[in-house]
């Protein structure tokens, strides 16, 4: 192992089938249809948003599926995949369509502000990236915060894409929002405001209602919010886990949340301070939590 590898952890925003540390139990992501014509080994391939020397989405094939830093045996980028500029979160639906969020990296050169709230989609059949939905969020140009869309989660059952934005927030004020997008009708519904969120996921409760789990962009805390069947909040947010002081850095923000089939929860943490430090040099850590059956409290497992 080299000294360099301590720091340089590639951030994968979406991993296909066999290329993850464990997929959300509810994930229904299907391999995109266009894979078939490209000659990639689908068990070792993934869409990446953080390939060095590339702007936009890149399909990569890893030499070692367990090691995200391993050599890329193949790389592919359709010309349209650059058109969204630098990108961040990627979510894939049951048809193999991938939903891509733009996210500036290092500077704003490739991410014009008028497109900061456009959700893009790579069509499973054609492999072409195109704009899918433009959210009704005003982009506030600010020296303090250049970010817009941050986190995404696709819910298979309701065929809804959830996305968060931190647009307009500054050191004093949170103006973040969460939208639910019906991917069939492209109808957008705001379900949360005044909250800056990095990562989010939805979980169905035994009652049939939902609970939105989300990682704050400003604190090392993961909250949950109960939602009814129409995704309307039925109560205030509840603090679920606090990762302050945990892990190699102690100040991570939760940028991804996954529930495992064994009931455990993996919170992926990374530093985030509303600056343009490239994600590729920000290390990540996975924190595994298990829910105490008696108290309901999530306890750190490792």
């Amino acid at each position: 192992m080299t000294y360099y590898s301590i720091y340089f952890q590639v951030v994968f925003c979406f991993v296909l089938l066999h290329c993850s540390n464990g997929l959300d139990a509810q994930s229904c992501a299907r391999t995109p249809g266009y894979f078939a014509n490209l000659g990639f080994d689908r068990t070792r391939s993934a869409l990446s948003s953080t390939e060095r020397k590339f702007v936009g989405v890149v399909l990569i094939e890893l030499s070692d599926v367990r090691n995200l830093q391993s050599e890329r045996t193949k790389l592919y980028q359709h010309p349209s995949w650059r058109s969204a500029g630098y990108v961040g979160a990627i979510a894939t639906d049951q048809l193999g369509n991938s939903y891509i969020l733009p996210k500036p990296t290092v500077n704003m050169e490739n991410n014009p502000e008028e497109h900061m709230h456009t959700v893009y989609r790579i069509d499973s059949k054609t492999g072409i990236l195109d704009s899918f939905v433009k959210l009704p969020i005003q982009f506030h140009r600010s020296l303090q915060n250049v970010f817009g869309l941050m986190g995404s989660y696709y819910d298979c059952e309701t065929q809804t894409l959830f996305v968060s934005s931190v647009a307009g927030s500054n050191a004093q004020q949170q103006l973040g929002q969460v939208y639910a997008i019906d991917v069939n009708t492209r109808k957008t519904t705001q379900i949360l405001d005044s909250t800056d969120i990095l990562g989010l996921t939805l979980r169905k409760e035994l009652t049939g209602d939902y609970r939105l789990y989300y990682g704050s962009a400003r604190e090392s805390i993961l909250y949950s919010l109960p939602l009814d069947k129409n995704f309307i909040a039925t109560a205030g947010p509840k603090m679920e886990i606090d990762i302050n002081g945990i892990g190699p850095r102690g100040d991570d923000r939760v940028r991804k949340i996954r529930f495992q089939s064994d009931g455990s929860m993996i919170a992926t943490g990374t530093p985030f301070f509303y600056n343009l430090t490239p994600a590729a040099i920000n290390p990540e850590s996975n924190y595994v939590f298990i829910q105490n059956k008696e108290s309901g409290v999530w306890e750190l497992y490792r």
């Binding site: 290092v106 050169e109 050191a171 190699p248 301070f273």
Partner: protein, 568 residues
């Protein structure tokens, strides 16, 4: 058991001499502070074939046997030195304890758990932990695992050392007050605690001894790798909040005291304001010398880095505040004012600000430095430098510095065949030594509208004594339009990373319709072109991590650039 006896005998015979020498050293030093002892201990073990500070001293206890078996385990030994250089890492055994059920990896069972010990070793160089389970009866390591970026709980003697370092620090004493003396701490008259902390940027082992005073607690972050205090933070006792870490202290200090906060300096005839911006680095403004206003503001708006081996590959980096900013490379330490000494004389003073990527100097991370040099004779030099390391050895750095002048009646002359040629329109030029230098020294001059003062520009040919090798700069003259978006306020990225010609950003304020500039308020843009080099003995704009005293330290090869403005 005969195997065990043989092992113990070996240990006693072969270790006896070293242990004796070590004990003598420790006894001799018993009157000195823990820091001195620690430094001597480190020097001692780094000369040993096992560069490890042991926890259990030589005896026949099972803990000692477990420790020695673990240290003699080939996999453990493979982490003792850097493969490339053969230099030793500093290692330390943090604990040796009987195994608990939770220590066992999932699914693993042991035959005789009563005889199994868990040994934890911390590698300071790699910031890595090695954990082993050792069966002392069977004299073998039954489980071995490494954990990157993981720091086990520290042993009591390191807790005492951390406290000692905190109590010896002048800033800690100053902040707490006179009643913080080591005696009262050790007599428990002062309530103390040792809290965990993290040094995310240095990747060092850090802890936070905490001293209570009335209703407040003073957290002192101590770096046990570099053996120094990182910073101090007061909190209310009993209140919870974000973890107190190196990054938190650094960011808080910079954000509170410098980010968009104007600081004033009056020194040696100079007076100016300075503030850290969100994307244009440290901005120095309202610069006057002996009461004469000279420069409205000076700042570096962009760093363009291009790599020649891959066409179009590079970055346009902004520098600035560590949080809520457009900076990709951020200020993590406060600016510093320092004297400029030439030939044993203080000839002026400088103001400097450093910017770091996380993880520097690992590949694809950056470190930039800004200096503003104010000389006693009225000369001024804005300096900008890269300290590597970037994404390759084929990089060219092109920082874009903007200098606006106070006088509304400026004129500019460039040197041509040892004569001055007045510029009447906005324009740009490429520095060309010596044919376009005046007296082999000056690339241009400004007249300020005042009869008595001209500002001549001494080009950087590598004569400034800072290791610079010349700038080969593009420079641009534009009319200052304070009310237009031409850099008076923070500029977002001004240009692409990888243009090889004059199109570095300021050109867009010239093209396509240059304006007349005679007798006007002017902005001078300066874009040096600095090629990095990693060849042995020629390193430039480069940095490496080298192993010294068992831990990695950066070895730097800066490339500084910038012309000097001389008041005539």
């Amino acid at each position: 058991m005969s195997k065990l006896r043989f092992f113990i005998l070996n240990l006693i015979v072969f270790r006896f001499l070293k242990i004796t020498v070590f004990l003598v050293l420790v006894l001799e030093l018993s009157g000195q502070d823990l820091l001195v002892k620690r430094n001597m201990q480190i020097s001692q073990v780094l000369r040993d074939s096992f560069p490890v500070i042991r926890l259990v001293s030589g005896n026949q206890s099972e803990e000692f046997i477990a420790q020695e078996l673990f240290l003699n385990y080939p996999k453990t030994k493979s982490y003792f030195s850097e493969e490339k250089s053969g230099k030793p890492y500093l290692n330390e055994i943090f604990s040796v304890s009987k195994i608990r059920p939770s220590d066992l990896p999932p699914g693993q069972k042991l035959e005789n758990p009563d005889k199994v010990y868990r040994v934890e070793l911390y590698n300071f160089g790699m910031n890595q932990s090695l954990i082993g389970l050792v069966d002392v009866e069977k004299t073998k390591v039954v489980y071995f695992h490494t954990f990157e970026n993981f720091q086990p709980d520290i042993p009591p003697h390191l807790a005492a050392l951390a406290e000692d370092i905190a109590l010896s620090d002048p800033d800690v004493i100053k902040q707490y007050g006179q009643d913080l003396d080591p005696l009262s701490v050790r007599m428990s008259s002062t309530k103390t605690a040792l809290n965990r902390s993290s040094c995310q940027r240095s990747q060092h082992l850090c802890v936070a001894p905490t001293f209570v005073k009335n209703e407040r607690a003073m957290w002192v972050i101590v770096d046990l790798t570099s053996l120094k205090v990182v910073g101090v933070k007061w909190t209310e006792v009993g209140k919870t909040g974000p973890a107190i870490t190196e990054r938190m202290l650094q960011n808080e200090k910079v954000m509170t005291c410098y980010c968009e906060v104007e600081n004033k300096v009056s020194k040696n005839g100079w007076s100016f304001l300075y503030t850290l911006t969100r994307s244009d680095g440290l901005r120095v403004s309202n610069i006057s010398f002996k009461g004469i206003p000279l420069y409205r503001d000076v700042k570096t708006v962009d760093w363009h880095v291009s790599y020649s081996n891959t066409e179009g590959f590079g970055y346009s980096d902004a520098i600035g505040c560590p949080e809520y900013s457009q900076a990709a490379v951020v200020a993590v330490e406060p600016p510093v004012i320092y004297p400029i000494i030439e030939n044993h004389d203080t000839v002026g003073f400088g103001l400097s600000q450093k910017y770091f990527s996380e993880g520097w100097p690992t590949p694809c991370s950056y470190n930039y430095e800004q200096h503003f040099e104010f000389f006693n004779d009225g000369s001024f030099r804005p300096v900008i430098g890269s300290i590597g390391r970037g994404c390759g050895n084929d990089g060219t750095y092109r920082p874009v510095t903007r200098i606006s002048f106070f006088s509304p009646q400026m004129n500019f002359y460039s040197a041509q065949k040892n004569k001055w040629k007045k510029w009447s329109m906005e324009n740009w030029a490429l520095e060309n030594f010596p044919s376009e230098y005046f007296k082999n020294k000056y690339l241009g001059k400004f007249t300020t509208g005042s009869k008595s003062s001209e500002i001549w520009i001494e080009g950087n040919r590598g004569q400034f004594g800072d290791g610079g090798r010349g700038d080969k700069a593009y420079f641009y003259l534009t009319k200052d339009h304070p009310n237009q978006d031409e850099g008076t306020v923070d500029l977002p990225t001004i240009g692409p990373c990888c243009n090889l010609d004059y199109k570095q950003g300021p050109d867009k304020f010239i093209d396509p319709q240059p304006e007349p500039i005679e007798n006007s308020a002017l902005v001078f843009w300066y874009v040096p072109q600095i090629k990095n080099d990693d060849r042995k003995g020629n390193e430039y704009c480069w940095a490496e991590s080298v192993l010294e005293n068992g831990v990695f330290v950066p070895k730097i090869y800066p490339c500084f650039s910038g012309p000097k403005f001389i008041l005539k």
